[in-house]
């Protein structure tokens, strides 16, 4: 009964490849997010979607394309992977997305680009 799940847990790939990370939440939340956590553990928002519509795109290269087929899913596709894309990517969801709302995070996907 995992609240926010993402696959795969680990992803190792070569530069220039295209890869996808899948995310699903079973909490019935309206808003989903993607975050990137770098090697210094700084966690930064990349995208947020509310009811399948893009709300925030935080200066992320257009090689990153989120896709939300429905409210429960927000997948992240990355084209032409670069060394600097290596990081841990977290999917999250929340009900309202403001104030005292709680973010529920997935377990993360560790992406390593060789």
């Amino acid at each position: 009964d995992t609240a926010v799940s993402q696959t795969p847990k680990y992803l190792v790939t070569q530069m220039g490849n295209d890869k996808s990370i899948k995310c699903e939440q079973n909490l019935g939340h309206d808003t989903m997010y993607w975050y990137k956590q770098d090697s210094k553990k700084f966690l930064k928002i990349m995208f947020s979607y509310n009811n399948k519509e893009l709300i925030i795109n935080e200066t992320v290269p257009n090689r990153f394309s989120p896709k939300s087929p429905d409210k429960a899913h927000l997948n992240l596709h990355i084209n032409s992977l670069e060394l600097g894309d290596s990081a841990v990517y977290f999917c999250a969801s929340s009900q309202e997305g403001l104030g005292a709302d709680t973010q529920y995070f997935g377990p993360g996907t560790r992406l390593t680009v060789l």
């Binding site: 926010v4 808003t31 997010y33 553990k41 700084f42 966690l43 930064k44 928002i45 947020s48 509310n50 709300i55 925030i56 977290f90 999250a92 929340s94 997305g97 403001l98 104030g99 005292a100 709302d101 709680t102 973010q103 995070f105 997935g106 377990p107 993360g108």
Partner: protein
């Protein structure tokens, strides 16, 4: 410029010791949250503080929101190895945008 500066960045203490970590900013916030992230997992919400001067307790953890709502502290009493993790403060900077602090990595040595 970081919106939320946390200190110390790293902290390593012996089991049973007390500690305080800080989250500071020059901005005023309507609310502030603390999350804990254990290795290999996503962050988990510990508490939300919304009122200036507010103090909340969660077992051995005490959270305080500054009177001016610009800063917050987390105090842990008698730290346990299970407290080891990355502690992150965060605030909603607008609709659907949760901004995280720089983090404090705590290690409690048995």
């Amino acid at each position: 410029t970081q919106l939320l500066e946390q200190s110390p960045q790293f902290l390593s203490i012996q089991e049973g010791e007390n500690l305080t970590v800080y989250c500071n900013s020059s901005s005023v916030f309507s609310s502030l949250q603390w999350y804990r992230q254990e290795p290999g997992e996503g962050p988990v919400l510990l508490v939300t503080v919304v009122t200036g001067g507010e103090v909340k307790k969660l077992k051995r953890l005490t959270f305080q929101f500054g009177d001016a709502r610009k800063d917050s502290s987390l105090h842990i009493t008698a730290a346990q190895p299970g407290d080891t993790g990355l502690y992150l403060c965060a605030t909603w900077t607008g609709a659907n945008n949760l901004f995280f602090g720089t983090g404090t990595r705590l290690t409690v040595i048995p």
